[in-house]
């Protein structure tokens, strides 16, 4: 369970905000596929998300399997840490 206002909960919150931009831009671009500015905007947020997801995986455990490399884990935190529906973040 994550402590509210901890560094972990702030990073988790930031990932949610960044990913919301990605979802919204992804769907926008599907029906506006020639909007170059929107493609660049999306790329910026994708880079930001990858960085935040890697940082989160290193410090607290992975939120997606593709961030597992470089974590030097001795425990499979993907399985042992709480699941999203348990709340607390």
């Amino acid at each position: 369970m994550m402590t509210p206002n901890s560094e972990q909960s702030r990073l988790y919150h930031d990932i949610g905000v960044i990913d919301f931009v990605i979802v919204e831009m992804n769907e926008y671009l599907d029906t506006h596929p020639t909007d170059k500015e929107a493609i660049e905007y999306l790329g910026h947020y994708v880079r930001m998300k990858n960085q935040a997801m890697r940082e989160y995986a290193m410090k607290y455990g992975p939120l997606r399997i593709t961030d597992v490399d470089g974590c030097n884990e001795t425990e499979w935190k993907w399985a042992t840490q709480p699941w999203p529906w348990e709340g607390g973040c």
């Binding site: 979802v23 599907d30 596929p33 992975p62 709340g87």
Partner: protein
């Protein structure tokens, strides 16, 4: 294929159980205008869709709906965990409890189990996109009804308001997709042929 991220699209942290509220919100998981039907509708409609941009929006909204289904399930789970037997008996939850305990199972608020007749995949681009736009509005109306029934419960209302807002955005995107399809058809008769079945003369 799909990959999973171990987080919710919008946070859900409900502290107090409330089986009455859980029973109405459950409809947005497995009810007639729920997120399960939404996701299956768009993902099923993709395969015979001849326009790539439209297949793209069906894929990406269909995927986002899976994240919404997870949010609704989480709300129901957090509203039904730690219920006492007394609360179960007094809140009208006994009929659900007897078959599912406090497990999550897709059904409408009135008890009708989820089935695929709650959505259509007609194999006609214009028919399907009108269905998709209507589906987003029906889900929006359901969220409005939930917000009228659930007052003074910010932990429940905030994620419901988020889900409601996404219905509005998706209505807009499907409207744009419909326009993309119509731009490729005969403007004097959009229904001259079905672009998912008949060969276009050019």
């Amino acid at each position: 294929m799909w990959s999973y991220e171990k987080r919710l699209q919008f946070p859900v942290n409900i502290k107090e159980p409330n089986a009455k509220i859980a029973q109405v919100i459950m409809s947005q998981y497995g009810g007639p205008d729920g997120e399960l039907g939404a996701s299956m509708r768009y993902i099923s409609q993709r395969y015979s869709m001849p326009y790539n941009e439209v297949a793209a929006i069906l894929t990406d909204i269909g995927t986002e709906e899976l994240a919404h289904l997870e949010m609704v399930s989480t709300i129901v789970h957090q509203l039904t965990r730690n219920l006492s037997m007394e609360e179960i008996e007094q809140s009208g939850f006994a009929n659900y409890y007897v078959d599912h305990t406090v497990g999550i199972w897709p059904m409408a608020a009135g008890g009708i189990p989820f089935n695929s007749c709650e959505f259509q995949s007609k194999g006609d681009a214009i028919t399907d996109l009108f269905e998709d736009m209507a589906a987003e509005q029906k889900a929006r109306t359901t969220y409005d009804n939930i917000l009228r029934l659930v007052k003074d419960e910010p932990d429940v209302c905030e994620p419901i308001k988020f889900l409601r807002a996404r219905e509005v955005v998706h209505f807009q995107r499907f409207g744009e997709a419909l326009r993309i399809v119509q731009d490729k058809l005969d403007s004097k008769n959009f229904y001259a042929f079905n672009p998912e079945f008949d060969k276009c003369k050019s």
